[in-house]
Structures are given as C-alpha cells and as structure tokens.
C-alpha cells in the first residue's frame, strides 16, 4: 500500500486553553485536529491525575494535528505563541498517512 509522509503535531495543554487553541487552529486553516482527554501523568511539578478535580484548571487535554511539512511552521509559530505561557508539551513527529488529500 502506498503511504505518504506527513507531520504530526501533538499539543498537551491545560484544559482552560483548549477553546482558544482550537479557535486558533480554525483560523490557521488546519485541515483538522483531534482532541483527547488526558488521564494523568508526572512532570516537573510531580504527579497529577484528572480524577477528583473540581475545576478545569487542573485538567490537561491533548490536541493532535496532522499536516504537510510545508504548513508546519505556519501552524507551529502561532500555536507556540499561545501555549508557551501555559503548562504543557508540544512535540512534532513524522507519520505516514494513507490519504494525503485529507491533510
């Protein structure tokens, strides 16, 4: 089967920022994204868990964007501008997709 190279941007960020991030991705004409709840983890500030939080403030979400390399900087630069102040992680990896016209 023929596969095509794309870039996968993974943004793990605080839940209160989610709407702003997805609004930004909409404005940037990202062809699509997926939002996933994050259950828990451990970072510089120690362990945390989604369970038993009364507020969105302690929750994290993951936003996944798959895009062509030619659009990577156009998406990453403003995204970085938004999330750089917040707790979170941004990673970029190489992936293969079956239907390149979707990205």
């Amino acid at each position: 089967m023929q596969m095509h190279s794309k870039k996968r941007i993974e943004i793990i960020v605080e839940a209160p920022v989610l709407n702003r991030l997805t609004d930004l991705l909409d404005r940037l004409d990202a062809t699509g994204y997926t939002v996933v709840p994050v259950l828990g983890g451990r970072g510089r500030g120690g362990s945390w868990s989604r369970e038993g939080l009364a507020t969105e403030a302690g929750r994290m979400v993951m936003v996944i964007v798959v895009t062509g390399e030619e659009r990577l900087d156009a998406i990453l630069t403003p995204v970085f501008g938004l999330v750089t102040r917040q707790i979170g992680i941004v990673t970029v990896s190489d992936v293969m997709v079956m239907r390149p016209e979707h990205f």
Partner: protein, 330 residues
C-alpha cells in the same frame, strides 16, 4: 442557639458527615470515587434547585431597595477583599506579587457549594433568607478577578518585572460571568422568578424533596476532592500561607458583617452574605487564573481554597457566620 450548639449541630449533620467521609476516603487513599459525569450532574441539579427556589422567593416578595443595596455591597466586597488578602499575603508570606494576586482573586470570588451548604444550615435552623442572594452570589464571581489582575500588574511593576498576561480583560470576564454554574444558577433563578409559586407546585418533588440527599452525595464527592487537596497542601503551602486559608475567611466575614449592619437583611440573609464573602472560589477563578496569570502556581491557590478554606468553612465557618449574622442582623 449558642455558637457552640450551632457548631455541634452543623458537625453532626449528614451533609458534613458525608463530606468528612469523602475526605477520610481520600486521605486513606481509598478507591472510592464519584464518576466525573455524575459529579457534574449533581452540581447542575444543585444549581437548578437553589436558583429556582431563590427565583420563586423573589416572585413572592418582589424587588426592594435592600436588594439593590445588597447587590451594590456585594460588588464592593468582591473588589475590596482581594486588596486586603493581597496586602496580607505580601506581608506575611514570601509569595510573589502574581501568586499573591492569584490567591487573593479566589478569596474575593465565591464558592457556590459553600453557599448551597450554608442555605441548608440556615433552613435547618428555621430561618428564612432573601431569594435574591442567589443573584448576589452570581454577581460576586467576577469583580475579584478585575481587582486581582490590577494588583498583579502593579505588584509586578514594583518587583521590576511584568505580568505575562495571556488574555484581554473583557474576554476573561465574559468567560467567568457566563461559566456553566453561573448560567445554570441565574437561568434557574429567572425561571423560578417568572413561573413563581405555580411553577414551584409543578416541580417541587424534583427541586425540593431530593435536595438534601443529593447534597449529601455531592458533598461526599467534594470531600474526596478536598481530601486530595489537603494531601497536596502539605507539599506546597508554607505555614503562613496555610494560616491565611483559615484566618482570612474570618476577616472577609467580619467585613461582610459590617456591611450587614448597614443593610436591612434578615438573619438568614446576613448569614449567607457573610458566607459568600468568606468563601473562596475553586471552580471558575482557577480556570480564569490559568488564562490571565499563567505564571501563578495553580497548586498553591487550589490547595489553599479547596484543601484548607472549603473544609474549614463547611465545618466550623458556617456556624460561626450564622452566629455573626445573629449578632449583626438579629
């Protein structure tokens, strides 16, 4: 009833005992949990019930000058409390200007769950309260955030830095003013006001009868949340910050008590206004602070408002505030 009797009655109520059970379960790391969706549904039910009942009360009693004055006083309180809190935190702890401002925003805003619990204590004592205090609770959510952001800006300039503000003030205030709990509370209040006693007769079996049982289940969940916050608080709070979580609600309550001397509120109404002033937000304001002051430490303000002040208010604070209300409004 004396202050001690009030405290004993409150501590032995099923609501507080279920809260204690939840806190105990969290402290011994039990796997007892309330699913997130259920907890959200319980919270929505409580907002609906308390809002609707408040609206029906206003439909019966109508609007008067005391209502306007009480709302005006609540706005002043919500603006003023963060200023006092910030000053005390800066004087007694080593918190940065931004952390102190973020913490003080929580104390100027309100905890709707503490308010709901206080209405139940007031009712159990056979006292009534003005229905428009529901609107007062909604009004007090936001002014504290404005106050705290101004304090953070000023404090950071004095420290030679600048606040890394991610949000414009209007966008942030719109978000807090229209957060889910406020929309549900105020919306139910308006529906109760419009439909009045006829509406109450139609849905009383839903909004009145199950209220206490559902509050018990919700407080069990809050106990679990607060217990986890309490576990965390030892790691992030210094003794002066921990003490702030106990003594500052008493200062806010005293300030609100002084306002009550000038307002013509009933004892129940005064107890609720004092409770609102003494409570600290842990739902709307933390999310707003993550957007407005992202450099402030969230573990600090969440541990303090949820792990220290909320349990204190629920167990000892509310009876004390009722006693204060009897003194200033009785």
């Amino acid at each position: 009833m004396s202050g001690v009797e009030l405290a004993i009655q409150n501590l032995t109520s099923p609501m507080v005992l279920f809260f204690a059970l939840g806190a105990f379960a969290a402290l011994v790391r039990s796997d007892l949990t309330i699913p997130e969706a259920v907890a959200k549904t319980l919270a929505l039910y409580l907002m609906l019930s308390i809002g609707f009942k408040g609206g029906v009360e206003v439909a019966k009693s109508g609007i008067d000058a005391t209502m306007v004055l009480t709302i005006a006083a609540s706005i002043v309180l919500s603006f003023a409390i963060p200023v006092i809190g910030y000053t005390l935190l800066r004087a007694t702890t080593r918190l940065s200007a931004v952390d102190a401002a973020a913490v003080s925003a929580h104390y100027g805003s309100i905890s709707i769950v503490t308010f709901v619990a206080a209405t139940e204590v007031v009712r159990s004592l056979g006292l009534t309260f003005e229905g428009y205090l529901i609107a007062v609770a909604a009004v007090m959510e936001t002014p504290a955030i404005v106050s705290a952001l101004l304090l953070a800006r000023r404090g950071s300039r004095q420290e030679g830095g600048k606040t890394d503000e991610g949000e414009s003030m209007p966008a942030l205030l719109r978000e807090v003013a229209f957060n889910g709990s406020v929309v549900m509370l105020v919306g139910s209040f308006v529906i109760g006001w419009i439909s009045g006693e006829r509406g109450m007769a139609m849905i009383a079996p839903f909004v009145v009868d199950p209220f206490r049982g559902i509050l018990c289940l919700f407080l069990l969940d809050m106990g679990l949340v607060a217990g986890r916050g309490l576990r965390q608080s030892g790691k992030v709070l210094t003794p002066p910050a921990l003490a702030f979580g106990i003594y500052f609600p008493l200062i806010s309550a005293t300030l609100a008590g002084l306002f009550c001397l000038m307002l013509d509120l009933s004892v129940g109404g005064a107890a609720l206004l004092i409770t609102l002033a003494a409570s600290a937000s842990y739902i709307a304001v933390p999310a707003a602070m993550r957007l407005a002051l992202p450099q402030a430490n969230p573990a600090l303000y969440l541990s303090l408002s949820l792990g220290v002040t909320f349990p204190f208010n629920l167990t000892l604070g509310i009876p004390l505030y009722v006693w204060m209300a009897e003194t200033v409004a009785g």
